[in-house]
């Protein structure tokens, strides 16, 4: 009996570890292999503060959370700049450094001997010294941590995390601040892991360096993968299975040492097996239904149209976005030089020109994805050069990408909702401390998103995952997502390339209508039919600067430009 209770205590700790790790790798897509280090640091903070300073529970636990969350932020700093294999190796290095520090800083950590004599937790005069007495506390903490993780994952912030995982630059183009998001999710994941560590220290009355090595990180990783990345219940299942399953080995007679290793062999083999036969895990990532359900319940129609689709002024042809003397070179190669452009309210401006003329570079400069070497960018007479992409989106200039960059594993509706501006739930503290406000906004946002989907004609596909759309529908979703930003200036990078004639006929009126509503529109396009049909003014770019400006007809009947276009 005692033994089973012990297993349950361990399962509770691993529920905390697996769910918090899932936030990092499953939701945010940040593959940092240092979770056992966070766990270990939490355990040591508790061990040191209780034994050396005699602090009572829960002060050491809280101190541990603060300290380890700060360490998490430290790991996040490289994660701002690097990803993929680089993040793997950096976090692995951190994992090793932590164990090394524990081993070497003998005066503080006891080195290889660890720290013994950590007091049990005493609550209401009762000492939680047996598995049976500790279990309720462990379960309560597991539930609490799960709730914290759940709230984070299922808030607008969590949705933004998944968007970042699917495509970081597209998340930026939806106005998300990636630096804030990465720092926050690392702090949460690390802080939660340290809670498990603190409990571990109190429960075993001992901490040693062996339990927090890379093997432990892989063990927790196996739980997350087995349960299903991006699904917190999956991590609970993964933790229960991987803590419970190897206990069956106890009934086979073998030396403890061998049994320990056999346990690890089973973890590794299970990890490989699940990747082979069911890479999405036991419980695959759900499509968040809460948003969809509320949205389809319907609501005040036409409201979104006012707020999102209408621009501040009417289609009065006022200049809104201006680029002057823009210059950008990469290494020795000049991509854009002396480029001037004016975009007017209610008009569709076209950018055409041969391959490599600098059209996409121009978009990148205007939206902050690249910094101009020289030149000025003014939006409504304020300079926006030098702002970060998400700030420029917030100001009112948004863009789409030639290669779509949809959030493929998210639903159509979520793709749109994530781009909606000014969501208070993007701030994690609001997600915890102003849940009502966030929930109300969520309902409104779902309605607004449905409105946008109706506008482009995708309302029937709202619950579909973006990856299941047809190509033409994907293109419409790109338009919808761009619209949802609420920006006044919409820059479309080849919104129509690769579409056949019928699909073109679906998108033409959408873009035309946006201009009539007072949006400022610019499109890059190679299909000259599209330019002729849509644009009021066309800029002809070549070799990085404007060769001519005029109406589509003027430009296309100019033999000299035709010559250039076909050169």
């Amino acid at each position: 009996m005692e033994y089973i209770l012990h297993i349950l205590v361990m399962a509770s700790l691993y529920v905390i570890l697996a769910t918090s790790f899932n936030l990092l790798i499953g939701f945010a897509g940040l593959f940092a292999l240092s979770h056992a280090a966070f766990y270990g640091l939490g355990a040591y903070v508790t061990a040191i503060l209780t034994t050396s300073l005699g602090m009572p529970f829960p002060i050491p636990l809280i101190a541990g959370v603060a300290f380890v969350a700060a360490v998490g932020v430290l790991v996040a700093l490289p994660a701002i700049r690097v990803s993929g294999e680089y993040l793997v190796i950096i976090s692995l290095a951190l994992q090793i450094i932590v164990v090394e520090v524990i081993l070497n800083w003998r005066g503080l950590t006891g080195g290889g001997d660890g720290i013994a004599g950590i007091p049990n937790i005493t609550i209401f005069g009762g000492r939680l010294s047996s598995p049976g007495t500790f279990l309720p506390l462990a379960v309560a903490f597991a539930a609490g941590c799960f709730w914290i993780a759940w709230r984070l994952a299922h808030s607008p912030f969590g949705r933004a995390l998944r968007a970042m995982r699917e495509n970081a630059s597209a998340a930026q183009a939806c106005g998300k601040d990636l630096v804030y998001m990465k720092l926050t999710v690392f702090a949460f994941a690390a802080g939660l892991a340290s809670i498990a560590g603190g409990l571990y220290a109190h429960y075993f009355n001992y901490v040693g360096p062996d339990g927090f090595t890379i093997d432990e990180t892989i063990y927790i990783l196996a739980m997350v993968i087995l349960g299903g990345t991006g699904n917190l219940w999956g991590s609970v299942v993964g933790a229960l299975v991987l803590v419970g399953l190897p206990e069956a080995l106890k009934f086979i007679n073998m030396p403890v040492d061998i049994a320990d290793k056999a346990r690890l062999v089973i973890y590794g083999a299970l990890l490989i097996l699940i990747l082979r036969i069911r890479p999405e895990g036991i419980l695959p990532e759900p499509q968040s239904r809460s948003v969809t359900a509320t949205a389809t319940a319907g609501g005040s129609q036409g409201k979104a149209q006012e707020t999102l689709l209408k621009a501040e002024g009417s289609a009065d042809a006022q200049p809104i976005l201006e680029g002057r003397g823009l210059h950008k070179s990469f290494g020795g190669i000049t991509a854009v030089s002396g480029f001037d452009i004016v975009m007017r309210r209610g008009q569709v401006t076209g950018l055409i020109g041969p391959n490599g003329a600098g059209k996409t570079t121009a978009f990148n400069l205007l939206t902050g994805f690249l910094k101009p070497d020289e030149g000025e960018i003014r939006y409504k007479d304020k300079s926006i050069a030098g702002l970060k992409p998400h700030q420029i989106v917030g100001a009112g200039v948004a863009r789409s990408f030639q290669d779509l960059r949809l959030f493929t594993k998210m639903t159509v509706l979520e793709n749109v909702v994530v781009a909606l501006p000014r969501q208070s739930g993007d701030n994690v503290f609001k997600a915890y401390f102003a849940p009502r406000q966030v929930a109300r906004e969520e309902r409104e946002n779902a309605e607004r998103a449905m409105e946008v989907l109706r506008f482009v004609g995708l309302e029937d596909k709202a619950d579909e995952r973006a990856e299941n759309l047809s190509y033409a529908e994907e293109k419409l979703l790109v338009v919808a997502r761009l619209l949802a930003t609420g920006a006044e200036v919409l820059l479309f990078d080849e919104p129509l390339s690769g579409l056949d004639g019928n699909a073109l006929q679906e998108i033409f009126p959408v873009i035309r209508r946006l201009a009539e509503e007072g949006k400022t529109i610019c499109i890059i396009e190679h299909n000259l039919d599209v330019i002729k049909t849509l644009c009021d003014t066309v800029y002809f770019l070549d070799e990085g600067h404007t060769m001519a400006v005029g109406s589509p007809d003027e430009l296309m009947n100019d033999p000299e430009l035709a010559e250039r276009y076909f050169k």
Binding site: N355, Y471, L499, D500, A562, F566
Partner: protein
């Protein structure tokens, strides 16, 4: 000039569920230079990649010398006499010019014929001989393109497919590349399929031309009518 050496029948191709080439039928006749024009994203590159086996067609057939080769791996196509020069960097930038050319003959079972072919290619592009030991990535754009074409010729292909060889080149270099394509066609009798956006400089070397738009052939025939650029703009 009548028998088709390489033929596409109702070829459809794309990425994932995004179909870009919508039933293109075109044939390259033995000994001719066929020019395919079209704007960016019209599906030209996808079409030739499907022809060459770099991607599996979604539907339709590819025939080479009368037998069906639909979806065959590039390695088999290369060994069978089809060469492909991709757009942009069709070279190994970190290797020397000489190594690049030698790799071009990778599928050749009898390596002893390579020195002689190398001579031929050096005759065609003398600059490659001068730069033999230079790292390919440090060549100028025009030289890189010549090297890419040279590599493709190393196994004496009967069909040469070129994807926008003029891209990013200055006009005089484009002329140089185009005239060497004519030379290859005449000297070795290689049948050549060339994709281009540079109309004025590629039209003169073509025996026949086609225009692709939104994944379909909208013009096929003599190159001359396409010389009127303003009219061509209507086709794009």
């Amino acid at each position: 000039m009548s028998t088709a050496i390489l033929e596409a029948r109702d070829l459809c191709a794309g990425y994932g569920k995004k179909q870009i080439v919508n039933g293109v039928s075109l044939s390259l006749n033995t000994g001719e230079v066929l020019l395919i024009l079209g704007h960016n994203g019209a599906g030209k590159t996808t079409f030739v990649r499907a022809l060459f086996g770099l991607m599996t067609p979604m539907a339709g057939q590819v025939l080479y010398e009368g037998k069906e080769i639909t979806g065959r791996k590039p390695a088999a196509n290369v060994a069978d006499g089809i060469a492909f020069v991709p757009q942009g960097h069709g070279i190994f930038r970190s290797l020397s010019v000489h190594d690049n050319l030698e790799l071009g003959g990778f599928v050749e079972p009898d390596k002893s014929v390579l020195p002689q072919r190398l001579e031929q290619i050096n005759g065609l592009f003398p600059i490659l001989k001068e730069r033999a030991s230079q790292t390919a990535g440090t060549l100028s754009g025009g030289q890189q393109q010549m090297l890419a074409i040279g590599m493709a010729l190393m196994h004496e292909p009967r069909v040469l497919i070129l994807d926008e060889p003029s891209i990013g080149l200055a006009p005089n270099l484009v002329e140089r590349v185009m005239s060497s394509i004519t030379e290859i066609n005449q000297r070795f009798g290689t049948s050549i399929l060339i994709i281009e956006q540079n109309v004025p400089l590629s039209l003169p070397i073509a025996h026949r031309a086609a225009v692709i738009k939104t994944g379909e052939v909208v013009y096929e025939g003599a190159p001359e009518p396409l010389q009127d650029h303003v009219k061509l703009m209507q086709l794009f």
